[in-house]
Symmetry: C2
Subunit: 143 residues, 2 copies
DNA sequence: ATGCAAATGCGAATTATTCCTATTTGGAGG
DNA sequence: CCTCCAAATAGGAATAATTCGCATTTGCAT
């Protein structure tokens, strides 16, 4: 099944060459249900015998972010960056502190708040980070 | 003026010893209008001829966070941690991407949202991170 | 004043990420 | 299809932020 294993058009449209590594990273990101770290991507691709180096992973991610194709998320209590494809719709995550399960939340509760804040603060607001965390039903501490 | 230069009670209450370094860090955090990094604290204290090492800064911050005295914030597009005293009231920041100015926002727009989410998701929600960023009026790009 | 658990200092180790340079490669143009 | 070159990659060294291990010091209960 020759699925969308090639992202040539998407890349060329932004004057980016279609390379094995970029295609592979896009494929990983697209097929993942959760944001991935640079290391996740590196290991996943190694696993599939796709040759790639960490510096390339970082450079590709950076390029994708700069071109609006991917976006970076950083989670509380970690100091590494997670990446995912930019969705049609802006959204946030609900994360389990214990098992790291990550639920995709529909919509954003902040649209109105941000608009109002922009007016009253004089800032030109570019974005926001929001991640909600806790324990999923399986990981809830007994009490 | 013998201001509150000693946090003995606050510390002892949590079974923490009152040390020169801990007092100094608490004082710095209390007198700062914005969250500080471990390095900020280290340099500020050096400046005041208070002997301290980076590992102590990190250890103290960690202890303060674990004891609910301070809290960690991490800003978009940086990969270092910022710390501030835990305020009476939970709040967020509005940050200028360019000059790093940081405004303290009153209240939290998410209280209801989180309550509702907790009900419908089955998670036991422990908290959330929210930082809003953009350009302050002085740093707005011309157009 | 004494003793000991707790806290600190210092440097080495780890982790995440960026940078440098030589080599390879996609794809435009002949 | 060849050729060519700017763009992309590999590999490893460098940097930045943070953590760790262990010897020494210090707060504070007695």
């Amino acid at each position: 099944m020759p699925v969308k294993d090639n992202y040539k058009d998407l890349l060329n449209f932004r004057n980016l060459k279609s390379t094995k590594q970029r295609n592979a990273i896009l494929e990983e990101l697209e097929s993942s249900v959760r944001p991935l770290t640079a290391e996740d991507l590196f290991l996943n691709l190694k696993e599939k015998n796709i040759s790639i180096s960490m510096s390339t992973v970082y450079r590709v991610l950076d390029t994708l972010v700069k071109n609006g194709i991917a976006q970076q998320t950083s989670l509380p209590q970690t100091n590494k960056a997670f990446y995912e494809l930019k969705q049609k719709e802006h959204h946030h995550h609900l994360i389990c502190i214990k098992c790291e399960k990550m639920l995709h939340l529909d919509g954003c509760p902040l649209n109105d708040y941000v608009k109002q804040l922009e007016k009253q603060s004089g800032f030109s607001i570019e974005g926001h980070t929001l991640e909600i965390y806790g324990y999923c039903d399986k990981c809830k501490p007994e009490d």
